[in-house]
């Protein structure tokens, strides 16, 4: 995470205005000049507060949602103990996959096939478990499959110079077909693993351990090693990164590898949580991780402002919101539609706040 400490923010504003000649030369900076009024000091501190606020918006969103959840839940007699556990159950897979995916998004790439690869990895894991009965082989299979699929996308994109997004659009279709083929191998509609087995391991402890280990790894790699810096550098300006000696191919492969690991672990937990896998399983994951990341303050175009914590914040926020909405709208016809509209509005509001310190004269792209 690249943060600004308060003094930095303060001084930075001064620098913004210290660039008289530069400021006017591009339309982008002209805005700064134009919008800065005579009340300089006021404006400067306002800008500083704006950026600080923007940085905090996802956290504020999380806090507000948590309070709303507790208030709504308590007042409607919800079993909060169970509800909190549910919260973790429902968000942990999204958080893991999304946190891994941040490595991809930080470098300005966009992978839309993560949901599909979760499904395929989960299916392979399920099949391996059914064949061997082993937990560890199943975990290994999930990770291997996910990393392999992820690396195929990365390699295709890197070797042939393809836009990652469209490559993953193609991967989405391919993985869908693979999932259909995998199901067909069982001669039935689903891949199902032993209930007793999944119940044994589908526990809070397993989830928290897997999540803690993986998230710690991600935070470490992202914030304390060369990899994270390089991902952000590539996201900020790929050309510069290249001309600074960063290997785009290796960087992409590393990012996709970690994302693949996350998908693998997510798939592993998916099998434990829902031991019955069909071609439509995990279909929501692909988009939900996107929403979670953005909700948590991730800049979708990546770059220096990427944050590794975004998925955690966003994932929990989404789960809180979903639960609160379902408590409030339970039993209401069309409730799902209204809940989704509320979700949309909140989503846009948080993103808007998070972007508030970083506006330019031209529209963002």
């Amino acid at each position: 995470m690249h943060d600004l400490n308060p003094t930095d923010v303060n001084k930075e504003t001064d620098v913004t205005v210290d660039t008289r000649d530069d400021a006017k030369t591009t339309a982008t900076s002209t805005t700064k000049a134009e919008t800065t009024t005579k009340a300089d000091a006021k404006a400067a501190s306002k800008a500083r507060r704006g950026k600080l606020f923007a940085d905090l918006a996802p956290l504020i969103g999380l806090a507000v949602l948590a309070i709303a959840f507790v208030l709504v839940g308590t007042s409607s007699g919800t079993n909060m103990g169970y509800a909190v556990e549910t919260l973790i159950n429902q968000s942990v897979i999204i958080i893991i996959i999304a946190t891994g995916a941040i490595f991809i998004f930080a470098m300005g790439s966009f992978d839309i096939s993560l949901g599909a690869s979760t499904l395929v990895a989960a299916m392979v894991a399920g099949l391996v478990h059914n064949a061997t009965g082993s937990l560890w082989l199943m975990l290994g299979a999930a990770i291997l499959t996910a990393v392999a699929t992820s690396l195929i996308s990365a390699t295709l994109a890197a070797v042939f110079n393809l836009p990652v997004f469209v490559t993953t659009v193609a991967m989405l279709s391919v993985l869908g077909a693979v999932a259909a083929a995998l199901v067909q191998t069982t001669g039935g509609a689903q891949i199902r693993i032993d209930r007793a087995f999944s119940r044994e391991y589908d526990t809070l402890a397993v989830k928290l351990i897997v999540a803690a280990v993986f998230l710690a790894l991600c935070v470490f790699l992202f914030n304390y090693t060369r990899l994270g810096r390089v991902e952000k550098l590539v996201g900020g300006n790929p050309m510069t990164a290249k001309l600074t000696g960063v290997s785009m191919k290796l960087t992409a492969i590393a990012a996709f590898g970690i994302a693949g690991l996350g998908v693998g672990l997510g798939a592993f937990l998916t099998v434990l949580r829902t031991p019955t896998l069909t071609v439509t399983s995990a279909s929501d994951i692909g988009m939900n991780i996107l929403v979670a990341m953005v909700f948590g303050g991730m800049v979708i175009s990546g770059g220096p402002r990427s944050r590794i914590y975004a998925a955690i914040i966003g994932g929990i926020s989404m789960a809180l919101l979903n639960q609160t909405m379902s408590i409030m709208l339970q039993g209401m016809a069309g409730g799902a539609g209204i809940a989704q509209m509320v979700r949309a509005v909140l989503f846009l509001a948080v993103v808007w706040l998070a972007a508030s310190g970083f506006r330019t004269k031209v529209l963002p792209r």
């Binding site: 393809l162 989405l172 799902a336 031209v362 529209l363």
Partner: protein, 345 residues
């Protein structure tokens, strides 16, 4: 840009080639591409839907604006149009007018949100998708809208003439608006020279909102055609289940971009859509399962992209092989691929 022959070849090589390959494969398999009387209608309808979606996607993607909400706009506008026509009456004209108009309004609102919030268009479109899916769901309470009792509302999609007319009108309309009008001139200047155009007085916000409105109107027409070809509107689609249609537009968009180098990208979108629809007929003639179909389509997308991204390399290699010294057809860096790069690398 080269001679007429060169341009004609570049323009037609893909659609003609696709047709030849698909026709040959079908014939070898003993099947016919146009096995039923409805084949032409299906071809026209699929071409219309794909072309409109491709245009709706491309006009914003060219400006680096990625739009997940295309399907949601089609869904919401047709839901509104059908509900009004069923509850108020007025038959197909009312349904068509309300659908396209509400499509344009939904598009404009989406654009308005984007320029007002000033957030990444991709992110804004995620929110809009949720919003419009939720809207359609709320209107019907999640139920489907069925036209079994109102066959007159859906005869539109069963008319070859109507579908052909849609294609022609949309092509001419979109070409006029984006290539010949003042709006289009501003639009194109904003694509590649955002900052310069804005400082020269081009109104970017208005232009963006209008572009979104056009995109929404096109998706309104798509919604209309889909409602009539399915005979129902699945208004209960939520949780991003409407985004699938967007993916069908990528390949024709790239094909269109390629063809656009030789003639015009709008014509390219038509020919790209036509090629995809021919391939669709081929799938049916060859009796491929849907898994096989999606696999092949995905491979085609990847192969074509590889070709586009490595055209220079391919060209260089080709010149080496031929040993000749033909002037390289310099690719203007595949516009579409480029914008996808900026919008969502």
């Amino acid at each position: 840009m080269g001679s007429f022959m060169q341009r004609a070849t570049g323009t037609l090589i893909i659609p003609v080639g696709v047709f030849a390959v698909v026709w040959t494969l079908a014939t070898l398999d003993g099947a016919s591409l146009f096995s039923s009387g409805d084949s032409l209608l299906i071809l026209a309808r699929a071409t219309a839907v794909t072309m409109l979606t491709t245009m709706a996607l491309a006009i914003n993607l060219n400006s680096g604006r990625f739009d997940f909400s295309l399907g949601a706009m089609a869904l919401a506008s047709s839901t509104i149009g059908a509900s009004v026509a069923i509850n108020v009456g007025g038959g197909f004209p009312v349904m068509a007018a309300v659908t396209v108009l509400s499509g344009a309004l939904l598009g404009a609102f989406s654009g308005f949100l984007y320029v007002t919030l000033r957030i990444s268009p991709l992110v804004s479109s995620l929110g809009v998708t949720l919003l419009y899916e939720g809207l359609a769901f709320t209107i019907t309470g999640g139920g489907n809208i069925s036209f079994t009792q109102y066959p007159e509302l859906v005869s539109f999609g069963k008319s070859l003439v109507a579908m052909t007319a849609v294609i022609i009108i949309a092509l001419i309309g979109v070409y006029t608006v984006f290539d010949r009008s003042r709006f289009g001139s501003d639009y194109r200047s904003l694509i590649t020279g955002q900052a310069a155009a804005v400082s020269a007085g081009v109104k970017e916000k208005g232009n963006a909102i209008k572009t979104y409105a056009v995109s929404g109107a096109l998706m309104g027409v798509v919604g209309l055609i889909q409602a009539s070809s399915k005979g129902l509107i699945e208004a209960g689609s939520i949780n991003f289940s409407t985004i699938g249609i967007m993916f069908t537009a990528f390949l024709p968009m790239f094909v269109g971009g390629y063809i656009g180098r030789y003639s015009n990208d709008k014509l390219g979108y038509l020919l790209g859509a036509l090629s995809m629809s021919v391939i669709g007929l081929g799938y049916s003639a060859l009796k491929l399962t849907s898994a096989q179909q999606s696999l092949i389509t995905a491979l085609l997308l990847v192969v074509f992209l590889i070709f586009l991204s490595n055209e220079e390399r391919v060209g260089r290699w080709w010149r080496k092989v031929k040993g000749g010294n033909r002037t390289p057809q310099q690719p203007s860096d595949t516009d579409a691929a480029q914008s996808v790069g900026t919008g969502a690398r």
